[in-house]
């Protein structure tokens, strides 16, 4: 028959546990204390023996006193065993009993070593008092027995050493015993009282545990669900009227199903205890609540779970709050998404009519206008452009916030990409008379893989800010290799300007959205404050960092790093030193020191010997000096805008001297600032447009310094020096990347085309409905409506007999299948991205020429 389990009080068992735990703590601490004390006593005994009785004498002859041996060996033996037990078995009864015996034996030894001094007898009473620290009266028993045995044995064999007389009367023995018994009574009482207080403290702790503000429901159940004990809080949580009602229930009924109970028991069986176990339980009235539970299992000798003890907390409210928080978070995310969608839609709604304004203003400017009308139309066009820029910034920012920024990963050349971005700001810099220079160090890889458009966007943003905030001086862009591995390269771009600088207190906030240096910046310089925030996000997506160093009133250096994969394609090594360039001598005349150092660096990388001077007088002096030494300069590169003797005057002066006239002259100038006829008349053979690009400079050197080694007579009107042919065709560029848009627009402008841009296929369809563009350059991958679908829509609209506008695809994908896809969508030709000016010229020239003839499918551009 299975014995029935006694039904212990939940609290009493827990109280016993807490009491035992605390008692153990006291035992262990006291064991450690005595271990130290006994070691000290041993040392003290040795010291006493050496001090009081170091030697024994026989006349003049001395030997070591037996007390020394007693102190060292007997004292060590007395202390060693209790210390060993205290260190290895702290808290055990044998340990403290051994300590008790050892402590009293130490008293006997010390009394003997000190010659029975009355004062040393205090050690006996002091030791008994120390033993009371255990709060265990049983420890005093062996201690007292040792004292009794000491008196008994000595009293029997050496009575005079104890009592002073050979025979002892009973009252003397009783007197000695009485003092010890007296102290024992006091100490035992103290131990009992201490134990009682410890137990009371344990009971209070258990009460606190079980109350917990009436929130924790304590329970004790058997493994088959019988309620063995619980508190009122438990009953309340489960919906019972009283503790007794809860005890009458079975715990299995609190679970939603048997599987849940089974899982609970299995976890307890395997892990012995559960902590922060969340589950759903069923109350008496059938409602379900969420609870948090801590439980400990009790196991029989076979290791099987027999009882479960623990407590539960009702966390239904907390769970509900968490769900509400989750819903609030989802609502906030949805709200942010809707806001971004709204922004995108609104931007489209605003941009569509703006495209119309821009397009119409462009058309208007192409007509015959009075000066006043031209000024008005120009203002409309400029204002519309500015507004479009702001809208594009806002749209980009909303994409960043919504995490919808996409990257187009292609192989690209970092040097030309950054140079073309800087080129976009050349006109603005020239108009402010700010020198704009760019240097790409030779160790920057020539082939990387990434989104060239986004890289351009960052550079345009930083350079644009630099030009905007610089009134005099220069803006220098420096591109270098930060670090590289076999597969990756981290490129660093620094944009240094001599502008107004940024106050120190604002620098940390610059890259936050809607932050400018101060409110007056917006009024004076304009801007939305989004550019740097977008740039920062783009840099972060490129695994880089962005920052600024600035001194107010002196200038700023904005920098960023970006990580790219190394490109797989082997890009033509335009910049490799051609054999014909090595050893050539070139004179560089430029008043800007940065420009001189950049040109010197670039020329030196090709093996060219560059001599750089800062003005016309120095240049003439250098040329004369070389002529005197019969040294020849193969080429002279002159800056057009110089103080005193400008480039044109210097060119005339050089050509006027027979000894110097044969030196080919190249002029560095900003686009549109110089009349090419004047340059030609001054003897300039080629023009370099600022900012000077490496490929452009290399190409020029190669052409001027031909492989024959002789500076051959170049045909006058070589490519760069000559009038820009004005074309009549009007081009619509559909490209979602704003910077790519600007690059293509600039290329078109330089090729002589008028052009407008839109950001997606839908805007292209709408723009074509408004204005009869002659050629459309259509990016294939665009949001809202891609190039393919837009082309189909345009063709469908032409089916009613309207003229067919040539559509040239701009696509990153140049595979045969992509070509077919473009043609199938109704496009007529395609260009591979990144679009090169020469390819663009070829394709546009082809379609410009066929404007008046029915369109035919052209051969694919290479």
């Amino acid at each position: 028959m299975t014995p029935t389990l006694a039904v212990p009080s939940l609290c009493r068992r827990r109280t016993d546990e807490v009491f035992a735990e605390r008692q153990q703590v006291i035992f262990r601490q006291t064991d450690r204390m005595f271990a130290v004390l006994m070691a000290l006593q041993w040392v003290f005994g040795i010291a006493v023996a050496f001090w009081l009785s170091p030697k024994t004498w026989a006349g003049p002859v001395s030997t070591i006193h037996p007390h020394i041996f007693a102190a060292v060996f007997l004292g060590g033996a007395i202390s060693a065993f209790p210390i060993l037990l205290a260190l290895t078995r702290p808290g055990r009864p044998t340990t403290r009993y051994a300590i008790a015996c050892g402590q009293m034996c130490t008293s006997a030894l010390l009394i003997h070593l000190t010659g029975g001094r009355i004062e040393t007898h205090f050690h006996v009473f002091g030791s008994l008092a120390f033993l009371a620290f255990y709060r265990d009266w049983r420890v005093l028993v062996p201690a007292t027995l040792v004292v009794v045995a000491d008196h008994f044995v000595r009293g029997a064999f050496w009575p005079q050493s104890v009592y002073g007389v050979a025979t002892v009367s009973a009252w003397r023995w009783a007197e000695h015993a009485g003092w010890v018994v007296f102290e024992d009574i006091v100490l035992v009482s103290s131990c009992v009282r201490g134990t009682r207080e410890l137990r009371a403290s344990a009971e209070r702790t258990v009460e606190l545990e079980s109350s917990e503000g009436d929130l924790a429901g304590n329970f004790l159940t058997s493994v088959d669900g019988r309620m063995l004990a619980c508190n009122e809080a438990f009953a309340k949580i489960l919906g019972f009227a009283s503790k007794e009602d809860a005890l009458a229930a079975n715990a299995t009924s609190f679970y939603e199903d048997a599987a849940a109970r089974r899982e609970y028991l299995d976890q307890l069986q395997s892990s012995k205890r559960l902590t922060h176990y969340e589950s759903t339980i069923v109350r008496r009235d059938g409602t379900r609540i969420a609870v948090l539970e801590n439980a400990i299992g009790a196991f029989d000798e076979q290791g099987q779970l027999v009882e479960i003890r623990g407590f539960i907390l009702d966390i239904t409210a907390r769970t509900r709050h968490e769900a509400e928080l989750g819903r609030a978070r989802d609502a906030a995310l949805e709200s942010a998404r809707l806001k971004s969608e709204f922004l995108a839609n609104m931007s489209h709604e605003i941009r569509t009519p703006m495209n119309g304004v821009v397009g119409m203003a462009g058309l208007l400017l192409d007509t015959e206008l009075t000066a006043e009308q031209r000024e008005f139309a120009g203002t409309i066009s400029t204002s519309a452009d500015s507004l479009l820029t702001i809208i594009n910034d806002i749209l980009d920012f909303s994409k960043v916030e919504a995490g919808k920024l996409t990257f187009e990963i292609l192989d690209f050349e970092p040097g030309p990409t950054i140079e073309s971005a800087v080129d976009l700001l050349a006109d603005r810099a020239t108009s402010k008379h700010v020198e704009l220079v760019v240097l790409v160090e030779r160790d920057v890889p020539t082939a990387l893989r990434g989104d060239a458009g986004r890289l351009r966007q960052i550079v345009v943003n930083l350079v644009g800010n630099a030009v905007k905030f610089t009134e005099v001086g220069e803006v220098a862009v420096h591109v270098s290799l930060e670090r590289e591995t076999a597969s990756d390269a981290v490129v660093r771009v620094e944009v240094r300007d001599t502008g107004i600088g940024v106050p120190a207190g604002v620098q940390a906030l610059l890259f936050d959205a809607f932050t400018q240096a101060d409110g007056s910046t917006t009024r004076k310089f304009g801007g939305t404050g989004l550019g740097l925030a977008i740039a920062r996000r783009l840099v972060e997506l490129m695994d880089g960092e962005i920052g600024v160093r600035s001194i107010e009133g002196q200038g700023s250096t904005f920098w960023f790093t970006a990580r790219f994969e190394k490109g797989a394609a082997v890009v033509q090594t335009l910049l490799a030193a051609a054999p014909s360039l090595a050893g050539r001598r070139v004179l560089v005349v430029d008043d800007n020191a940065t420009n001189r150092s950049i040109l010197r660096y670039q020329l030196a990388s090709w093996g060219v010997q560059a001599v750089c001077v800062s003005g016309g007088d120095e240049a003439l002096a250098a040329l004369h000096a070389a002529a005197d030494l019969e040294l020849r300069y193969d080429l002279a590169i002159l800056d057009c805008q110089m103080p005193g003797i400008d480039g044109v005057m210097l060119a005339r002066a050089i050509k006027a001297e027979p000894a110097l006239a044969r030196i080919p002259l190249v002029m560095m100038t900003s686009l549109g600032l110089q009349d090419d006829n004047e340059l030609r008349a001054a003897g300039i053979v080629m023009r370099l447009t600022k900012p000077v690009k490496q490929a452009q400079l290399h190409d020029l050197l190669t052409r001027v310094l031909a492989a024959t080694g002789e500076p051959g007579a170049l045909p006058v009107g070589a490519a760069d020096v000559g009038p820009v042919v004005r074309r009549r065709a009007r081009v619509l560029v559909a490209e979602d990347n704003v910077i790519n848009q600007k690059v293509v627009l600039l290329q078109l402008r330089r090729l002589g085309y008028s052009a407008d841009s839109v950001a997606n296929g839908a805007e292209a369809v709408e723009a074509l409905a408004l204005i009869a563009y002659d050629i459309v350059l259509m990016d294939c991958q665009m949001p809202q409506l891609d190039g393919y679908e837009a082309s189909r829509l345009i063709r469908r609209g032409e089916s009613g007999g309207t003229r067919r506008v040539p559509i040239v695809a701009m696509t990153a994908h140049a595979l045969a299948g992509d070509r077919d896809k473009c043609l199938e969508a109704g496009m007529d030709d395609y260009l591979s991205k990144p679009v090169k000016a020469a390819d663009l010229d070829l394709v546009l020239a082809r379609w410009d020429a066929t404007r008046s003839t029915p369109p035919v499918l052209a051969a694919a551009a290479s």
Partner: protein
């Protein structure tokens, strides 16, 4: 066939027992040493002729001390206690042993100072132990009590064990005689270091009169 290891508690119990045994043996040996007296003084019935001159007409208590003997500190303490308890003013002599080849001052230890600090105690140097030899004293701490006529009344130690202060029969006997009574015992064991390197060098006269 492997033997299961004994539980730890068995080893602990065995260790406990061995420890108790060891400590008990040690303490017993210590107590035995403490209770083992030295050889008794020679039983000369009267003031030796070869001894130093004494104050005539009053009882004399002669105490022999080795200046380096640690156990004799208790003897000096007992002497002080004793003299405080007696009504009479006996002549008290403390003879401090000094080897004949020792430097001057060898015998001036804390024991000399302690004895000299007791009022009424004459502290003298026993050069080479000649006086101890004359009296037949062998062990430091031995006391000899003579009445006013010079007859020996008590010989032995005035401590109960080596270096152990406290009530003892020797002190009681001397106190009883000096307070006008009869000593309860004529001799007690003496606990202390030997005054001679050869303990049996008793005076010939003492040897003649030693109990057979």
């Amino acid at each position: 066939m492997s033997i299961a290891p004994l539980p730890v508690r068995v080893w602990v119990g065995a260790g406990f027992a061995a420890w108790i045994l060891t400590v008990g043996t040690g303490l017993t040996m210590l107590w035995a040493y403490a209770g083992t007296p030295g050889p008794p003084a020679a039983a000369l019935p009267a003031w030796p002729a070869a001894a130093f001159a004494r104050d005539a007409g009053k009882p004399a208590l002669v105490l022999f001390l080795h200046p380096q003997c640690p156990c004799s500190r208790a003897t000096v303490s007992e002497l002080a206690r004793l003299l405080a308890e007696v009504h009479a003013s006996p002549a008290v002599y403390a003879l401090i042993y000094r080897p004949s080849d020792a430097k001057a001052g060898w015998e001036h230890t804390d024991l000399w100072d302690s004895a000299a600090a007791i009022p009424g105690v004459h502290v003298m140097t026993d050069d080479g132990g000649t006086q101890a030899h004359a009296f037949g004293a062998i062990v430091s701490g031995q006391a000899l009590l003579y009445d006013a006529a010079g007859a020996l009344q008590f010989r032995g130690g005035i401590t109960g064990a080596r270096g152990h202060e406290g009530d003892n029969p020797g002190r009681s006997a001397v106190r009883e005689f000096l307070n006008g009574g009869h000593p309860s015992t004529a001799s007690t064991p003496s606990f202390g270091c030997l005054l001679h390197s050869e303990p049996d060098s008793r005076p010939a006269a003492a040897l003649d009169q030693a109990p057979r």
